[in-house]
Every structure is written in structure tokens, then in C-alpha cells.
């Protein structure tokens, strides 16, 4: 757990005192990732760096796992906090192994222990220990270097990690991969993490909670979904972007929206049955055909069922797409837009049809969580439409 209590930093500049962080109080529960988000110069990095005293607080306190860090020796404090920076900062004069082992060695671990730990961490970040441990940072790509940067920060198993735009300098494709890897690692490690970002999409993807900063003040601190659904003021709203409703698509899983009320026919049914069922369920275009294992095998369109006679099995059209319960709504929306459809069947892990998801259900789910009564026109517009 990280707890900040009225943390303040005032910089003395030639133009007078500048308050970079103004009475920041917040708490990150153990095992969660909190994203500090905001435009540059908003105080998010200052706040982060006050926790490990790269920047000395003007006033206020930092508690880590309930313990006031004010009295702790700076070196001791830092050795128990993993630190990852955007510029990576691997030591070019050391091998990868030495880089990862820096903190354990500072802590006086014995050689076999920190070497073993280095190998474990290489496995964790999906780099082959034998191939990489003896190499130097300059021989690695940026993405590989930052993986090592993360491994170095984790080497001594600190309960808390501070990450200052850790993936900011990595190309978008690699960044997504590293973000996913990191989230997977975090599921096992359960570190308490503060993570600075200026990228709203990264914040939504990585954060259990998001703290939005502006001009040294903490403006809003909430879960990503709450943030997007109910921005506290105009600044937060404009920072989130006009497509914030779309961004929420990332956060919602099919599981939460799916309706298990789906009408299907089997290949042995006649087209008449199919037409009747299409009408029963009020489908506009087509009905899904499933086999006896409830796997989707095809579609019967309304037009076809109305004009043709015979069995469904002889007139199957391809199922254009299905989604699984753990997909996010962004993927669903993308499939719908790409194929000009408003409806998709959902399958479970074994490929069995277990429900359907409609555009209507999606907009309803998202819209119902937008806070009515916000002064902003566009959000109330969405809210009233439902």
C-alpha cells in the first residue's frame, strides 16, 4: 500500500515559487496499479518522484505499507522500491546480469542467490537467460532493454514499484506486447504500483485506478470506468477526449453485456421453422444454425427462409464472426462496424454458442453508466437517449 498525505512540492525558480504538487493525498491499495495521468507539467512525475525522494517533498508524508517513510534512510528507502524510468537507464558498462543484480548486490545478497534470481527474472520477462545475461545493454533493442529495466526494478522483490512512463519510448507494437506481459506478471506478483503516463489509453488498459492531475492538483481519483463514465469536470473530460465513451469499450467484457436469450435452429430443421423462429425472436436479418454440440455452423437469412423451401442444412451461409466471453466490447464493435451487422453470437471457451450480443445491448450498458446530470451537453445527450 502506498499512502500520500498532503504531499507538496514548491520549487523556487527565478520567477518565484512554483507549486508543482499541491497537497496531494491519495492511497493506492496493496497489489493494485494506480496510473498518474495528466498533461506535461501537471505534477504527476513530481508526485511520483517524491515517493522515492528523487525529489524531496516540501511538506507532507509518504506511507508505505502503513509505515511513515519520513525517518527512513534515503538509500534504504530506494532499495525497497522498484524504479523504472522512461529512458530505461540500464548501465551500459555492465552486462545484463550485472544490471539485474545491482540492487540485490547493494542489499548484500550472496552470489548464488542473486544469480539465480537474475535467471528467474529473465524467464519471467520472456528473454532467454543463456542468450542475454552475458550481453550488454547496447546490444539489445529498446523493447528488450525496457524488459530488463523492469526485471532490474523487480530483482530484490520490492513490495512497491514506481514507474515513470516506462513504456513511453517504445514503438506502439512492442509497447502493447510489453504492457500485456507486464499485466500478466502483475497478476502473479501483485506489487503495489504507481505508474506515470500521459497516454489515456495506456491508463485505461493498465490501471486499477487512475489519478488525473492538473496544475499540481489531484483532480480526480477513480477507477478507469468511473473516470470515463463520470469525469469530474470539464478539464478531465476534455483530457479524456471526445471519444471517451468509445474508450470504455476497452473496459467492458462481452461477459457483462451478453444475453443468453438467443434463438437458434439446428441443421435438421426446415426453413419454415427457421422463419417462424426468426419472427419469434424478432431478428431482422438472420438466425444462427448450431449443431448438436451447440457449435455455430451457419446462418439462415430471413430473405432466404421466406422464399425457399427445404432444410436448413442445405442453405447454410457462413457465420461471419463470433466473439468469446472474454473479448472486450471494442473488438465486438469493430467486428460489427466492419461487417455492417448489429448482432453477434457469443461462444464460450469450448466454442459452444452461449448467447448473443447486440449493438443495442452495448449502447444500453455503456449509456446506463454515464452519470446523468453532468453539465456537459454531450454526456447528458447520451444519457437521455437510452
Amino acid at each position: 500500500m502506498i499512502q500520500l498525505d498532503n504531499l507538496t512540492k514548491v520549487f523556487d525558480t527565478p520567477k518565484g515559487a512554483v507549486t508543482a504538487a499541491d497537497n496531494i493525498s491519495m492511497e493506492v491499495p496493496a497489489g493494485e496499479i494506480c496510473i498518474l495521468l495528466g498533461p506535461s507539467g501537471c505534477g504527476k512525475t513530481t508526485t511520483l518522484k517524491m515517493i522515492n525522494r528523487i525529489i524531496r517533498p516540501s511538506s507532507g508524508k509518504v506511507f508505505i505499507n502503513g509505515e511513515d517513510t519520513t525517518g527512513l534512510d534515503t538509500q534504504d528507502l530506494r532499495r525497497n522500491i522498484g524504479y523504472v524510468i522512461q529512458q530505461i537507464g540500464l548501465f551500459p558498462n555492465m552486462t545484463i546480469e550485472d544490471n539485474i543484480s545491482v540492487v540485490p548486490r547493494l542489499l548484500g545478497w550472496d552470489k548464488t542467490r542473486y544469480r539465480e534470481r537474475a535467471r528467474e527474472h529473465m524467464d519471467m520477462i520472456a528473454l532467454d537467460p543463456d542468450a542475454f545475461l552475458k550481453r550488454y545493454p547496447s546490444e539489445l533493442s529498446g523493447g528488450q532493454q525496457q524488459r530488463i529495466g523492469v526485471a532490474r526494478a523487480l530483482a530484490a522483490d520490492p513490495p512497491v514499484m514506481l514507474m515513470d512512463e516506462p513504456f513511453g519510448a517504445i514503438d506502439p507494437i512492442n509497447r502493447a506486447v510489453i504492457q500485456d506481459e507486464f499485466l500478466k506478471m502483475q497478476q502473479e506478483l501483485k506489487k503495489t504500483i504507481m505508474f506515470v503516463s500521459h497516454d489515456i489509453d495506456e491508463a485505461i488498459k493498465m490501471g486499477d485506478s487512475v489519478a488525473v492531475f492538473r496544475e499540481g492538483k489531484l483532480v480526480q481519483y477513480s477507477t478507469p470506468d468511473d473516470l470515463l463514465a463520470a469525469p469530474q469536470n470539464d478539464f478531465v473530460e476534455s483530457f479524456l477526449g471526445e471519444d471517451r465513451a468509445l474508450k470504455r469499450l476497452n473496459l467492458v467484457r462481452v461477459r457483462e453485456v451478453v444475453s443468453d436469450d438467443i434463438g437458434t435452429v439446428s441443421p435438421g430443421d426446415t426453413l419454415e421453422t427457421a422463419l417462424a423462429r426468426i419472427d419469434d425472436y424478432g431478428y431482422q436479418n438472420a438466425i444462427l444454425v448450431v449443431n448438436d454440440k451447440r457449435q455455430p455452423v451457419g446462418l439462415i437469412s430471413r430473405a432466404l427462409a421466406r422464399t425457399t423451401k427445404g432444410f436448413c442444412r442445405d442453405h447454410l451461409q457462413n457465420v461471419s464472426a463470433t466473439v468469446s466471453l472474454d473479448d472486450d466490447l471494442r473488438k465486438v464493435a469493430s467486428l460489427m462496424f466492419a461487417q455492417d451487422i448489429t448482432w453477434l453470437p457469443c461462444v464460450d471457451a469450448k466454442g459452444r454458442v452461449c448467447g448473443q450480443i447486440t449493438q443495442r445491448a452495448m449502447t444500453h450498458h455503456l449509456g446506463s453508466r454515464f452519470r446523468p446530470g453532468t453539465t456537459d451537453a454531450s454526456s447528458s445527450h447520451v444519457a437521455t437517449e437510452e
Partner: protein, 243 residues
């Protein structure tokens, strides 16, 4: 041997020239003349090297800590002005420095070593300072954030990363030092300058060259030696010659 290109022809020409130069030196007895000075050269070269080792060693021992101290954040305010003073110091001709040190310390080895020391100090201090200042701030932040003490940062991060630049300074300084030692003869410290200046005074080119050629060779050898040490000592990750 067919000549296939201009380059090949040029090479052949050089070989022929070297051959005839050899024939001429043999027939004219120049080699014998040079050999006459061999015992002198041996004695004076040792003296010469000794002056370099003393003044250069002293300069390294003083200049590197000086550069380290000046590069500390607490010295940031005075460091630049001190560096400027050192830079002005470099512009004083070595001969003048030797003359000045003679007027304070008399003649002999001591004033010569002192004068050479002053001339050698500056490039090393400057490179040490520049090398340490050149270590990327991100690296320093990472080192601090990880929990290294200031001393650990200096010895584990800053110095290893600045080492290549520091060695470059030492190379330059010692090469210049060897080339300057002949001047030390003028204030009575010996060295190969004895042959050079006496040869000039006596209009004896052979004598002069017996001093000048070994001086040049010594400079080249020392330069190569330090390059080799740098190659071996500077960590592979920050060593451009081993990349």
C-alpha cells in the same frame, strides 16, 4: 609481377624507393654514424621515459581526482570557472612554463618534472571532468533511484562510463608529454633533448636525428600502450573499440 592497378604500381614504386634508400644508407655509412650514438640514445631514452613517468604519473594522480571533484554537483557553481582557468593555463607555452618553474625551483630534474606535470595535468583533468559530466542524467537518476550511495554511483556508474574519455585524455596528455620532454634538457634535466639540441647547435643532423627519431618512436609506443590498456580496462559495453 603484373601491375594491375595504380595502387599496385604505387606500392611497387614505394618498395623500390625503400630498397634504394637502404642501398644508399648502407653505402654512405649513415647507419654506422647513427650506431655511434646508440649508447647515448639508450641512456638518454631511459632518462627521457623516467621524466615522462614521473611527471605523467603525478599528473594522472592529481588530475583525475581533480576532475572528479569538479564534476560533483556541489561544485557545479565553481567548476566551470575553474575549468576556464585551467584552459587559460593550457595556452601558456610549455617552454614558458619550464622557464618559470626553473626560476622558482632552479635547474635539474625537479623543475623539469614540475613543468611537465603542469603541462600534462590539464588535458587529463579536462577529459575526466567532461567524461563524468557526459554521463547521461537518465543513468544517474536510475542509479540514484535504485538506491546507490553517491560513492557507489561514482565508482560503479560514473567512472566506468567516463573511462573511455578519461583514457583518451591520458593518451593525449602523455603523448604531448613525451614530445615536450626534450625541452627539459634546456633546464638541465637531460633526456633525448640533449642529442637534439646539441645536434642543432653543432649542425650535426645525424646527432639531432638520433635524438628526434627515438623521441617520436617513444611517443608512438606510449600512445599504443595506453590504447591497449584502455582496450583492456574499459568495460566492453562502453568501449567503442570493442563494440
Amino acid at each position: 609481377m603484373p601491375i594491375q592497378s595504380l595502387k599496385g604500381g604505387f606500392r611497387l614504386l614505394v618498395l623500390v624507393a625503400i630498397f634504394f634508400a637502404g642501398v644508399w644508407t648502407q653505402s654512405s655509412g649513415v647507419i654506422g654514424d647513427f650506431l655511434f650514438y646508440l649508447p647515448d640514445v639508450q641512456f638518454l631514452a631511459v632518462q627521457h621515459l623516467w621524466l615522462t613517468v614521473l611527471s605523467g604519473g603525478l599528473a594522472i594522480v592529481v588530475a583525475i581526482p581533480l576532475g572528479v571533484v569538479l564534476s560533483r554537483p556541489s561544485m557545479a557553481r565553481v567548476a566551470e570557472s575553474l575549468m576556464q582557468i585551467l584552459n587559460i593555463g593550457t595556452t601558456i607555452p610549455t617552454l614558458a612554463v619550464l622557464a618559470l618553474s626553473m626560476s622558482f625551483l632552479g635547474i635539474g630534474t625537479v623543475p623539469a618534472v614540475f613543468g611537465l606535470f603542469v603541462a600534462t595535468l590539464l588535458p587529463i583533468a579536462r577529459n575526466t571532468y567532461a567524461g563524468l559530466k557526459g554521463v547521461s542524467p537518465a543513468l544517474m537518476e536510475a542509479a540514484a533511484g535504485i538506491g546507490m550511495s553517491p560513492a557507489q554511483r561514482l565508482f560503479r556508474v560514473e567512472l566506468p562510463n567516463a573511462l573511455y574519455v578519461i583514457f583518451a585524455g591520458i593518451r593525449t596528455a602523455l603523448t604531448i608529454n613525451i614530445g615536450t620532454v626534450p625541452l627539459a634538457f634546456l633546464i638541465g634535466a637531460g633526456g633525448l633533448g640533449e642529442l637534439i639540441f646539441t645536434g642543432i647547435d653543432l649542425y650535426d643532423p645525424v646527432m639531432m636525428l638520433s635524438g628526434a627519431i627515438p623521441t617520436a618512436l617513444l611517443a608512438i609506443v606510449v600512445d599504443a600502450l595506453i590504447a591497449l590498456i584502455a582496450f583492456l580496462v574499459v568495460p566492453r559495453g562502453v568501449n567503442p573499440s570493442r563494440a
